[in-house]
């Protein structure tokens, strides 16, 4: 028997209840729209007090080295308290509802728009200016993701992009090359998919190409010329014919292999982070994948027969869909000055170089190449690129592809309904993947849902401003 106490609903009821209770009991001040007019941001100021940080963990040398650097920049007068683990929105909102938010949060950049629109986080223009954070230093799509209504709400950190990863042996065996699966020619890629796919006794044994739906659909849509969201974050373009064509093609890749369910089941069965990963075990021809996986593959299967290239659009130009993290200061933060300095320090070129050196040292100790770090800070990226070390082929090509495509990224702009926008899009993609709907119909419905959510959310932003 499952007791209700063993179930999350109780936690939800408690959370909803707690939020309700707090909202009514005097602590219920909320923080929406709070400002930081009392804060004076300056890189010269001696800081003191406590800095509570939510959503960041010192998981590796890249994090801990920068944390040490940031603590030094804060000075001895500031005590840093970390609430580790990924940012738990429920936990953050509950804290904000009680009027006692943390001083700083480490969030995904696609959460910034929603939080900013509701007044949960502060605009950082004064913080940037006072601490001397150079907004031009950031990779442009990263900065765009934290900018709502022309105001910056976050300090970007890390950048995630995709490159094409393929099994060179499988390509050779089918008489193909990496150019056939890098996205530059969709017909060629579809043909390569069929040539690479293998079945064994009726079940899928080798995934020819994995177009990585639903998560990388924006990549294929953009490669086909469709912007799913207008630059100002107000207009959804999910029913753009170019997006419809992209979805039809990307789903067709799966249909040619027996359907997405079969591909997904085989994809899930791989030892993704281990020696038996899908490239090492020869059960995947090619896929676009985020750059950090190069590091994983090099670590666990350095002899796997890999081939790398950027993902490319129809003109053969590199393209990647960028995402990543950012620092943001909640409305009602007790110590926004310390928060701002921490964000500045953690994303500074000096901190990144120190972190890169720490990783380089560690990799050299292990006798492995240093494949770089994408930071969101263009200058840091350039200098860290120079620090990368050769791991021979194919790894050097992989690193080269990562740095090449980092110059050709796009992101979905910040908007006040990002979670609903993404949910509408993913629902549509899943409907097509399952065969329940045609791409045009599903995306038309998603367009309606997403636009409604955007309109409602923007209307509230306008009301509040």
């Amino acid at each position: 028997m499952r007791t209700p106490g063993h179930h999350h609903p109780l936690a939800i009821s408690t959370a909803v209840g707690a939020a309700s209770l707090l909202a009514l009991t005097g602590c219920a001040v909320g923080t929406g729209g709070g400002d930081d007019s009392g804060a004076e941001y300056s890189s010269d100021t001696t800081l003191e007090g406590e800095l509570s940080v939510m959503g960041f963990s010192g998981v590796d040398e890249v994090a801990t080295t920068r944390m040490d650097f940031a603590k030094q920049e804060l000075g001895d007068g500031v005590e840093v308290k970390l609430t580790e683990g990924e940012l738990d929105l429920q936990q953050f909102l509950s804290a904000a509802a009680t009027g006692d938010p943390p001083d700083l949060i480490y969030a995904n950049r696609d959460q910034i728009g929603s939080l900013a629109a509701r007044g949960a986080i502060l605009p950082l223009d004064r913080c940037y200016e006072g601490e001397g954070i150079d907004d031009d230093a950031f990779v442009e799509p990263a900065l765009a993701q934290v900018t709502l209504n022309d105001e910056i709400y976050g300090v970007p950190e890390f950048n995630t992009v995709q490159i094409t990863m393929a099994n060179a042996d499988l390509l050779d065996g089918a008489g193909l090359s990496i150019e056939d699966v890098n996205g530059s020619d969709w017909d060629a890629m579809a043909a390569a998919n069929e040539a690479l796919t293998r079945s064994d006794g009726g079940s899928l044994a080798v995934i020819g190409v994995d177009s990585k739906l639903p998560e990388f659909f924006p990549l294929w849509a953009r490669a086909n010329g469709a912007d799913l969201l207008s630059e100002d974050g107000r207009e959804a373009h999910l029913d753009d014919p170019a997006a419809v064509a992209a979805l039809e093609w990307a789903v067709g890749i799966y249909d040619a292999q027996g359907g997405f369910g079969d591909v997904k089941a085989l994809r899930d069965s791989a030892d993704f982070f281990g020696e038996g990963n899908q490239f090492a075990s020869g059960v995947l021809g090619a896929m676009p994948m985020e750059q950090w996986y190069v590091n994983v593959l090099n670590d666990v299967s350095p002899d796997a027969p890999l081939a790398f290239d950027t993902v490319r659009d129809h003109d053969g130009e590199p393209i990647a869909y960028a995402s990543g993290s950012a620092w943001a200061i909640p409305s009602g933060a007790e110590n926004p000055q310390a928060a701002c300095r921490w964000a500045r320090a953690m994303t500074s070129v000096d901190a990144w170089l120190a972190a890169a050196q720490a990783r380089l040292d560690l990799r050299e100790e292990e006798g492995k190449p240093f494949t770089g770090i994408l930071t969101g800070n263009a200058e840091a990226d350039e200098q860290i690129h120079d620090m990368t070390t050769s791991g021979g082929e194919p790894w050097d090509s992989g690193v080269a592809a990562v740095y090449e495509v980092n110059e050709h990224t796009f992101s979905l702009p910040a908007n006040p309904a990002d979670a609903e926008f993404e949910a509408a899009l993913n629902d549509a993609i899943n409907d097509v993947l399952s065969g329940d709907a045609e791409a045009a119909d599903a995306l038309a419905r998603a367009q309606e849902t997403a636009q409604q959510a955007l309109d409602d959310a923007w209307a509230k932003v306008e009301e509040g401003s």
Binding site: P4, H7, A423, L433
Partner: protein, 297 residues
């Protein structure tokens, strides 16, 4: 004297009463108010009347999530009770080994539901899962439990049987409470084992069965953890075409992902109403089926 006793009782009960009032009753009432507002947790709630409730009826995902939840509950509860009862009957026959098996059956209950969700993805993977491998041994080609929308809920039902342990213990206790002389009388009357089960055992343990059914129905209607971990958790892109979108998962999304706490509160009240109706129906039906020893009917 009586008044003094009452005062003492109230004094001892007061921590619970205060706790209940502050942490349960008041939040419940206040969520009723929130359901009439547009509230995002961060800003003050704005009163909008019954708009959230009207929206419930035009939101296709509410219908989808409700359908999924009712289907899951309707299949899961009978399966849960049958398996629990079967295991309890077996345990009753187990003699000295019964203690060992009771512990073994209860152990999975200690597994965090989040771990069970991840385990589900591994065990039920259509390509490499242990469950399909076992089916293969008896010549059955198992489906894609985690990726085929039609098989996702049945898979979750089977997985939920992992935690039957506590129901087994309750039913075992009830079985042991059935007077032996009733079985002796039935045997004298020529009743076989099936007849003894249906005419003696089941009526005698019907209060325990009823309890298990009611509690599991409520839990089923509120199911969340395993399905959320497996199909909707952070960074999880597992696709199920919303086959695993249970009502509370959608409620959670509205509250903490889309920041529509007012709407989520309205959803919570609808669920409360459904749970009340279902439980009331079960209570009515139970009057005919549940036998309380010594109770006047």
């Amino acid at each position: 004297m009586k008044r003094r006793d009452t005062r003492a009782a109230l004094l001892f009960l007061s921590p619970w009463i205060v706790g209940f009032a502050v942490f349960t009753a008041w939040p419940i009432l206040y969520s009723g108010y929130l359901s009439l507002t547009d509230y995002d947790v961060i800003n003050d709630p704005a009163f909008i009347g019954f708009e959230n409730y009207a929206r419930l009826f035009s939101d296709p995902k509410v219908a989808l999530a409700l359908g999924n939840t009712l289907f899951f509950t309707a299949v899961q509860v009978p399966a849960y009770v049958i398996v629990s009862l079967a295991l309890a009957v077996l345990l009753q026959q187990a003699g000295r080994a019964s203690g060992f098996f009771r512990t073994v059956f209860f152990l999975p209950k200690m597994t965090p539901p989040v771990a069970v969700g991840i385990l589900f993805l591994l065990l039920f993977n259509g390509q490499s899962g242990l469950f399909n491998a076992a089916l293969g041994v008896v010549g059955i080609d198992g489906p894609s439990w985690t990726t085929d929308g039609s098989w996702v809920k049945p898979g979750l039902v089977i997985m939920s049987l992992w935690t039957v342990g506590s129901s087994v213990l309750i039913l075992l206790a009830a079985l042991r409470g059935v007077p032996e002389e009733l079985y002796d009388s039935a045997k004298i009357d020529g009743a076989g084992s099936w007849r003894r089960l249906t005419s003696v055992t089941l009526p005698m343990i019907s209060p325990a069965l009823f309890f298990v059914v009611v509690v599991n129905t409520i839990a089923g209607l509120q199911t969340f953890d395993e399905a959320y971990t497996a199909f909707f958790g952070a960074g999880n892109t597992t696709y199920a075409n919303d086959a695993a979108l249970f009502y509370v998962i959608y409620l959670f999304q509205q509250a903490f992902e889309f920041l529509h706490m007012g709407y989520a509160s309205a959803m919570a009240w609808l669920l409360f109403l459904i749970v009340m109706i279902v439980t009331a129906i079960q209570m009515v039906v139970s009057r005919r089926l549940v036998h309380y020893e010594g109770a006047s009917r």
